[in-house]
């Protein structure tokens, strides 16, 4: 069974690790139940969902900003915590499981941060982020015995 292609993490990305249960209709990547979102009738991964919502928010924002009449932009068309407001967020944003994905996409694109990737399933979906990836991550994972430790454990 194939694994979910969505990467977890903000400063350093890693593989989701769950078994895939579906396929994203936008990027055609395998996705697990946790990272599946439904938008209209489309099944998509949480990252494509976040990007689509952000695009909609940006276009709704630009329509509103271009002097659209009051009420032209439907209430709720601009999702909370999305790219229309960049990395701004409201106090309810954390309740949405997709929000960290909105946030990290907006943050990567505005802060010029290139996240590390320390998994084994690299995919070109993240080329826009210019990932910094391990050269031999498969071997590194096999050699790695412990991740726990304090600050001054040397």
């Amino acid at each position: 069974m194939s694994k979910c292609a969505v990467k977890r993490g903000i400063v350093a990305l890693r593989d989701c690790g769950n078994d895939a249960t579906d396929t994203c209709t936008i990027c055609s990547r395998p996705i697990c139940r946790e990272h599946t979102r439904i938008r209209g009738t489309q099944v998509m991964c949480v990252e494509c969902y976040a990007r689509q919502e952000q695009q909609d928010a940006a276009s709704a924002g630009s329509r509103a900003g271009a002097g659209a009449p009051k009420g032209a932009v439907p209430k709720g068309a601009v999702p909370k915590g999305t790219a229309a407001k960049g990395t701004d967020y409201d106090e309810n944003a954390w309740q949405d499981d997709s929000w960290p994905y909105y946030y990290r996409h907006a943050w990567y694109t505005t802060s010029f941060y290139h996240p590390f990737y320390n998994g084994i399933y690299y995919d070109t979906y993240y080329d826009d982020y210019d990932l910094r990836a391990f050269a031999d991550s498969t071997q590194r994972d096999l050699d790695d015995d412990s991740t726990a430790g304090g600050f001054y454990d040397s």
């Binding site: 954390w94 960290p100 943050w107 010029f112 690299y122 412990s146 304090g150 001054y152």
Partner: protein
């Protein structure tokens, strides 16, 4: 809490949650998901409490105005609005006692939602926070009256409020610990105008200092420094056998509010400051 909705929500909280609500402080270890569930339920209770407190405040105010009008017309008619004002006032006061500062849902919960992504599900996160007003007596550093000028006197008070700290291990094995301290300066200006009127004014200035230590594993990351032009952080390092400990400091000026809160971007930018200045051990290029 005579109002049933907040009372019902309060009764559903655990002992630990009730302690946080009443003391506005916490010092515990949980996984990020456990923190989110626990603090999320407190935030839900607080939202209901805020809404009802606002209603009680309006009800009390309206009843007082009504009773004043009634007193002017026919004093006996004022009894009912006075009683209603007292009931609303008691309700407001009770809800105020269990009010949790909004920084819980504006800063802590969004930060936890992001940290959860960077930590393993079973990893424990220690959090210590104190959301009470920072200008408490125990936080007072210095208080002095500056030399008075004609018609003008100035009193300066300085406070240090270390209100939020935590530590945990990220999914890549890096350890992270932080402390956020508000350095508060209050100027109380008293002016006497030529007509003899005395005017008082308070000016606040808050410098929010984010101190962070990130222990990067040397078998995964190589420290190369640089990057100061991007994020203007104060950075220092100490190398051990297994980890490079990076100390980062960011200072944020806050002018609008005395309440302890912050935009999570400051936190994430500070954490990323350590990673920006490192590269992967054995990194050949950006992609495999």
């Amino acid at each position: 809490m005579s109002n049933p909705a907040p009372a019902r929500k309060y009764s559903q909280l655990s002992d630990e949650q009730r302690t946080i609500v009443t003391s506005k402080r916490a010092d515990a270890r949980h996984t990020p998901s456990e923190w989110i569930v626990m603090l999320g339920e407190i935030a839900a209770f607080d939202r209901v409490g805020d809404r009802d407190r606002s209603r009680a405040g309006w009800g009390c105010g309206t009843s007082i105005i009504l009773s004043i009008i009634c007193l002017a017309v026919f004093w006996k008619a004022a009894i009912v609005p006075i009683v209603i004002a007292i009931i609303f006032g008691i309700r407001y006061s009770n809800l105020k006692k269990v009010d949790v500062p909004n920084s819980l849902r504006e800063s802590l919960l969004p930060l936890l939602a992001l940290l959860r992504e960077d930590m393993d599900a079973a990893a424990v996160l220690r959090l210590t926070f104190d959301l009470r007003d920072g200008t408490r007596k125990e936080n007072l550093l210095a208080e002095e009256s500056l030399p008075p000028r004609r018609y003008l006197s100035l009193k300066e008070s300085r406070y240090s409020n270390a209100w939020f700290s935590g530590e945990g291990v990220l999914a890549d094995g890096s350890s992270v610990a932080w402390e956020i301290t508000d350095l508060i300066r209050i100027h109380e200006v008293t002016k006497r105008s030529s007509s003899g009127k005395i005017k008082m004014k308070k000016k606040y200035r808050v410098r929010r200092v984010i101190d962070m230590r990130v222990g990067l594993r040397q078998d995964e990351y190589v420290w190369h420094g640089g990057g100061d032009a991007i994020d203007s952080l104060k950075v220092s390092t100490k190398s051990g056998d297994k980890r490079t400990v990076v100390k980062l400091r960011r200072v944020v000026e806050e002018r609008n509010s005395l309440h302890p809160r912050f935009d999570v971007r400051y936190f994430i930018d500070t954490l990323a400051g350590a990673y920006r200045r490192a590269s992967l051990a054995g990194e050949e290029g950006r992609k495999p």
